[in-house]
């Protein structure tokens, strides 16, 4: 082949252009990155990641791991990352539940219910989520002051500094209680398999729910008593300024959670609604002709088919929720951005901190997508 035919050949020509494009993009980015680094170094703004080992010197109020003002910047950022993960998980769980319920209810034949849900969805979807976060925060701040805390049995307290719950102390032997719990879960799994098989064969329905509930409570409770009660509770008491002891859920966390989950749920409900509508009505008619209850039709016939349409857009809602959680700064919930900004400000390491944000959110998003793709594969229609 001479060069001319190399050029006229559509495939090789395409290949050449692609290679040129890739090289071009690579050169462009290399240029930008090296330029950035020199400029930042000149401005004294970038000097690598070694600052992560320096002492942070500031405190954080919500810590899932040991942290104090003598810990490092790196650890502070991890604390912030965990706080983001907490809000993301709580938000995704709540948004899914609310979203599915709202999506199903919106199709309800009861005019009042479907109207109410429509109003919720349209209202919440169209108000900026930042405003909703601040709205919930202001509501929570108007709860009773500490001195007038509402309390349930003098062990759970509610005031405008949060909800204070008893925290658990674990002593020797508490491992046994957890083992019992895990054992119960394993037993339940096998009972479920067995009852499903039996139902398939004989049509007999086993009271699975009650059995499972009983096992989950009974086995650990029994172990707890036998092992000499190895867990007790640290009940909050009234202190001079604040409640002392126990575990505090801050109003910032709750406000952020309420706002993000109701906001995202409004979008999810629309996804669920369109998912349900995408299942052909013949399915429902056929199922009711067989005499199935409407709730069972929804659970066993409609939803499983609708899920295939629901999952992909649902994934992107989960990602949105996770990213929106960075609005936390507005009310002082110490997520990764809030803490990272503080680190950035105290250490001056702008580029490093921003690169950590990017890697963190990218990783979270990729994990979420990977999980959802796996789930999507699993529920795909298996054609025979």
């Amino acid at each position: 082949m001479n060069t001319k035919s190399l050029w006229t050949n559509e495939r090789t020509r395409g290949l050449i252009f692609q290679i040129l494009l890739v090289v071009g993009i690579a050169v462009f980015f290399a240029f930008i990155i090296s330029n950035t680094i020199t400029n930042l170094e000149k401005a004294g703004l970038a000097s690598g990641y070694s600052f992560l080992g320096d002492t942070a010197s500031f405190d954080i109020n919500q810590r899932l791991i040991e942290y104090s003002s003598t810990s490092t910047y790196g650890r502070a950022i991890i604390v912030g990352g965990l706080n983001t993960i907490v809000i993301a998980i709580l938000g995704i769980l709540a948004a899914t539940v609310i979203g599915f319920v709202a999506g199903i209810l919106r199709l309800s034949k009861n005019y009042l219910i479907s109207r109410l849900v429509t109003i919720y969805v349209e209202f919440v979807r169209n108000v900026p989520v930042l405003l909703q976060i601040i709205f919930w925060w202001v509501i929570l701040l108007s709860l009773p002051k500490v001195r007038n805390s509402l309390s349930i049995g003098d062990s759970i307290f509610l005031n405008n500094r949060g909800i204070r719950l008893p925290s658990a102390n674990f002593y020797e032997g508490s491992v046994l209680v957890f083992s019992a719990l895990i054992f119960a879960l394993i037993v339940i799994y096998f009972i479920k398999r067995w009852s499903q098989k039996r139902q398939a064969k004989t049509g007999k329905i086993f009271p699975f729910g009650y059995t499972a509930l009983g096992l989950i409570i009974f086995l650990p409770a029994l172990t707890f008593l036998l092992a000499d009660q190895p867990i007790d509770f640290n009940v909050p008491t009234r202190g001079r300024f604040n409640l002392k002891g126990g575990f505090n859920v801050t109003p910032e966390l709750v406000a952020l959670w309420l706002a993000l989950s109701t906001y995202t749920a409004a979008f999810i409900s629309e996804i669920v609604r369109s998912g349900i509508l995408s299942v052909s009505s013949g399915q429902r008619e056929a199922a009711s002709a067989l005499g199935l209850k409407p709730s069972l039709i929804m659970r066993k016939i409609i939803l499983p088919q609708a899920l295939r349409v629901i999952i992909p857009p649902l994934t992107s809602q989960y990602l949105n929720l996770t990213k929106n959680s960075s609005l936390a700064v507005a009310i002082g919930y110490q997520d990764i951005v809030s803490i990272g900004d503080t680190v950035l400000n105290q250490s001056g390491q702008a580029l490093e901190v921003i690169s950590i944000f990017m890697i963190f959110y990218l990783t979270l998003s990729l994990i979420t997508s990977a999980f959802m793709n796996w789930y999507n594969k699993r529920i795909e229609l298996v054609e025979r």
Partner: protein, 340 residues
């Protein structure tokens, strides 16, 4: 806020695209733009606030106006950029502002590590606490177990951690971005006490409807020398800004006021005044400005004393006395090098 994140990213990109040549001369940039970009508070009574016409006013704002007057000949040629404790440094480093005049404490790491140049001290301050009298305590040392509102990205949050740690006390930090939010949190009793620079406490307290029910505790737990800041590396610009500040202080010393500055500029018997106001010597030229730079700076809002009394002094709602901020010859520590 996510906005902040976007802003940080944007600043990183601005820095990245500036190809190393930018900010060779801030003076030229300011002149070319026709206005000074001055970083100020998001709002703090006395220091930076808007009047009923929406114009920015205040002690920190007065410095921006004096500098604009010295450099551009017009005190109104200022573009104000409102910055929080967190956004101020990236804004300055990236060139979004030419000078930062926002209750900023001169510290070693900001001066040395962050690459900024502090121009001097415009207000000697220290960190204090405000709380309700009904708490029934007399001292900040009794705050064990309290919830404390703080602004993030400040020296305040670092001092606070040190203070509680060295006094072996525990607290719940309630981190907040701006003074307005901190005020709201404090008034809603989200926190028991609010801590910031004592001047900021006075400013915040002046806005309370029931100010008599609140008290500032006697402890001042830190040194907070506040002053304007520029980027490191443009010495000419730093000199201009530094000597504008010094001129305002020297003007007080020499009795040059907003009312008499134009008169005195025509020539006096005092050679020091004549040098400052451009009648003798060539101070303005050395700075790269014209001879009457200081006349305009002083005419913009008066000398240091006039600015202080107008916005912070005992006749204002803040009611701050000069204290440390009196001239050295009046028992304070305010002392500007001679203009010679």
């Amino acid at each position: 806020m996510r906005l902040n994140l976007i802003r940080f990213a944007a600043m990183a990109i601005i820095t990245l695209l500036s190809f190393g040549t930018a900010h060779a001369s801030t003076l030229n940039d300011v002149k070319a733009a026709g206005h000074l970009k001055c970083g100020i508070n998001t709002g703090l009574p006395g220091f930076a606030f808007t009047d009923d016409k929406g114009n920015w006013k205040g002690f920190d704002v007065a410095f921006c106006r004096a500098l604009a007057a010295a450099v551009l000949g017009n005190a109104d040629k200022v573009k104000y950029v409102n910055l929080t404790g967190k956004t101020r440094f990236p804004a300055l480093a990236s060139g979004e502002i030419d000078v930062l005049s926002r209750n900023t404490t001169w510290t070693f790491s900001r001066d040395v590590d962050l690459g900024f140049t502090f121009l001097g001290v415009s207000y000697y301050d220290g960190q204090g606490f405000i709380g309700r009298k009904s708490l029934g305590i007399k001292s900040a040392k009794e705050l064990d177990g309290a919830s404390v509102c703080i602004q993030t990205g400040t020296t305040t949050e670092l001092n606070l951690a040190d203070f509680f740690r060295s006094n072996k006390m525990k607290y719940e930090p309630v981190p907040i971005e701006t003074n307005a939010e901190a005020r709201a949190g404090y008034l809603a009793e989200r926190c028991d006490v609010y801590t910031t620079d004592a001047s900021g406490l006075a400013a915040t307290k002046s806005t309370f409807k029931d100010a008599e029910n609140h008290m500032v505790f006697p402890e001042i737990i830190s040194k907070e020398p506040l002053g304007p800041v520029v980027r490191q590396g443009d010495d000419q610009w730093a000199d201009i800004a530094r000597w504008t500040l010094n001129a305002l202080i020297v003007a007080e010393e020499l009795g040059v006021t907003q009312a008499n500055v134009n008169e005195k500029a025509k020539g006096t018997k005092n050679p020091e005044i004549n040098r400052m106001l451009g009648k003798e010597g060539s101070m303005g030229k050395m700075l790269g400005l014209d001879a009457t730079w200081a006349v305009r700076a002083i005419a913009a809002g008066g000398n240091y004393a006039e600015i202080f009394e107008k916005y912070l002094g005992t006749k204002t709602p803040l009611g701050l006395s000069r204290g440390l901020n009196a001239l050295y010859k009046d028992g304070g520590i305010l002392y500007a090098p001679p203009i010679r």
